[in-house]
Symmetry: C2
Subunit: 438 residues, 2 copies
């Protein structure tokens, strides 16, 4: 089995994420590609700092050309960001016939067309899933998953720093500069936050999404852009009174070929899904003429989420390089099933909501509670209220985490009690979901 060799230019946060994922999920990735994906060289000016990753010393170099000119490397991953020298490296890599993967939104938004044209002429692919929305596979969704549609609207929360600051501000009485300081303290904002809070980072990303939809470059300068620095806690609380939240949105609305495009703070209805995207999360709301409204949500930045997007591009290109084009890839994702067993009720623990239906008589609750206690089930809250005309009274209860087997056994006992008038209703509780504030 021939290895697919890749070279990485730029060993910062995202570069370290990519290397970590390729190592940690090596088997899954080999399985999906059909061949091992091997990091052959990594170029960075800093070859000394500890990134928490063990590498053979020969892998690290401070010369990007050692990657670009290596005939064994078929995929070059550019993760240094900014216009130069990234543009030069990308151009040279394409000229050498390398496939390239990049997360460089500033470069693509200004010079994407040039690179895509060069790649097309040279017959190589450019992956750029990491350039918009971090780990959210939004590039693929627009290019491929929604390919049957004429895309009519895009609304995006595309900058986690700004969304975190706005979430913070609507959470309490924090003003912009306090919320920014909090974002910096938590590592969600850079020391110089200009690109984020001015809206221009969002504009770069909108430009890339527009290029996908319309097939031509949209220069950031064509897109009207406003940032969030002038928003006050008063604006947020007045908006709230009126049923709105304030979000920094990238907007494109197509009116039969005439589009309204802008990046501005925007009041959105508090009850809408997009207004509930909190903290550093990103979301893209896309409307297509066939599919209607869709929303894609996830972490918009960071080592592992952006690494996830970059590695998905590497896998896609590596798979195309490896697979005999006559033979489609095996469906159901995997060449070998992942070993897995389904848990039984004696292995599952959960919190539960219970509704008992019992006769309205003294001592009923104590009988129920007694049985629960016998099965090691402890009550977290209980409400018994009102009387029903039929003599049945509902008792509502939440219980702490308990073994499903015990809960089922206790319910069986309780349902057999003479005072029980109907089968007990049992609903599981899932607390796994993030409830994000700021």
């Amino acid at each position: 089995m021939n290895n697919i060799n890749i070279g990485i230019i730029g060993f910062g946060t995202v570069g370290a994420g990519v290397v970590t994922i390729l190592e940690k999920n090596k088997e899954i990735i080999q399985d999906r590609v059909g061949a091992p994906v091997v990091v052959r060289r990594i170029a960075d000016l800093d070859t000394v700092s500890d990134r928490g990753i063990t590498l053979q010393p020969s892998i690290l170099t401070n010369d990007a050309r050692a990657i670009i000119n290596d005939p064994e490397i078929s995929i070059v991953v550019e993760l240094i960001g900014g216009e130069e020298p990234a543009a030069t490296y990308l151009r040279q890599a394409v000229a050498q016939g390398k496939h390239v993967v990049t997360a460089n939104k500033a470069l693509l938004s200004r010079r994407g067309e040039e690179f895509f044209q060069a790649a097309h002429e040279r017959g190589v692919n450019i992956g750029f899933e990491g350039s918009v929305g971090g780990g959210i596979p939004i590039i693929q969704a627009i290019r491929d998953g929604l390919s049957a549609n004429r895309i009519t609207m895009i609304f995006g929360i595309l900058n986690g720093t700004s969304n975190f600051i706005l979430s913070c501000m609507s959470d309490g009485v924090k003003d912009f500069s306090e919320a920014l300081a909090e974002a910096q303290r938590l590592g969600y904002a850079e020391a110089d936050p200009t690109l984020d809070v001015s809206g221009y980072d969002t504009t770069h990303k909108l430009s890339i999404l527009l290029s996908l939809v319309y097939g031509r470059q949209f220069h950031p300068e064509e897109i009207y852009t406003e940032g969030i620095a002038r928003i006050t806690p008063q604006d947020i609380s007045f908006a709230k009174e009126l049923g709105y939240r304030i979000k920094l949105l990238a907007i494109s609305k197509d009116d039969r070929g005439e589009i309204e495009v802008r990046v501005t703070p925007t009041l959105v209805p508090a009850a809408s899904l997009i207004s509930n995207v909190q903290g550093v999360y990103n979301a893209v709301f896309v409307t297509g003429d066939a599919v209607g409204s869709t929303l894609f949500y996830g972490r918009g930045a960071g080592k592992m989420p952006t690494g996830s997007a970059v590695v998905s591009d590497i896998i896609r290109i590596a798979r195309a390089l490896h697979t005999n084009p006559e033979k489609p890839i095996i469906p159901f994702g995997s060449r070998r099933p992942r070993p897995v067993t389904i848990k039984k009720e004696n292995q599952i623990r959960s919190r539960y909501y219970l509704r008992f239906s019992a006769t309205d008589r003294p001592g009923v609750l104590s009988q129920i509670a007694g049985i629960l206690g016998d099965y090691d089930i402890s009550i977290s809250s209980v409400i018994q209220r009102g009387r029903s005309s039929e003599g049945a009274v509902p008792i509502f209860m939440l219980i702490h985490e308990a073994l499903e087997q015990n809960v089922n056994a206790a319910m069986k006992k309780i349902d057999e009690l003479p005072v029980t008038l109907d089968r007990t209703m049992l609903i599981r509780i899932e607390d796994t979901f993030d409830v994000l504030d700021c």
Copy 2:
């Protein structure tokens, strides 16, 4: 340019959606594929009913074999649903070397492995994006967009009928049977709603998602399933008091190779994103070890949304058939840019939120209102409150839809007033977002 010919078996709701999309977005689709996609034959037992689509009469047939045996057809689209005769047609199509696209979740959840194995041996592809989550490209997201990840959790709202009923019930005092009747009246529930409200439709879809993650068949019988018929308005209102909503969830939680899988009504925190998925919408919450939490949201059923998913499969397979595998597809989606112009401020209308900063003196509001009136801008609400120590008082205002050019001109005038102490804050309002109840 050689046409890519397809044959469709089953001309019901989704079949009509697929034909409508292929006709309506013909140019976009040809552009993405690189060749025209032509519907050559459609087979249905009913060749008489009017589907609102004009077809050459020779296209319609009641003999599925006329499609399966047609050497000119390279993609067979199966949209009849159910196990037989769909299974026979799919098997025969694969044996004839056709690529197939299907939205048949019942069939795939029971016999997917058999079909994928046959397709692999014959070297053809099976597209099945339409089988889960309607128009949401969730199959692609798990197989490809999140391919760098070990998927650790899936939570899905995968049945629009059940979600509509639960949304209705939490909206008012409707009980299950009233909410079901409402769903039936609106066409969101079938005359026999058993498959939907019992949870088994959700189980079929979870089974397919699990197969993608673990690479083996999960029979629906392996998945513990409960429906929503026993949930009462009391359950919903008690849950609400405790900060929860009730959703019918498909759940898979991976604990190092031991998975908890089930389809049950579940209490989820009211403040979580998934609890805000209302009405007939679907959503899938996927956690990967690298990407973290993601959510994919959209219409889970219906003619056009499911049609969108089916056509995206057709485009993907057609593109692979047409493209010279040596030459990658042109990035930025399109071979020809779509004609588009960016609107100017004299073409854009919006509602706005305004915050004026003025001296605390009589007559200020009337000066501001006068200028707004001059520019044809009408006020929908205004609040002026409290006094500031610096003598500046904020005035908050919402205005009705107005021309951006006029708003900008009025702001300039207002900012030049002697009573104005700071630049007026102006934030656009977007009311486009669905705020769904039931």
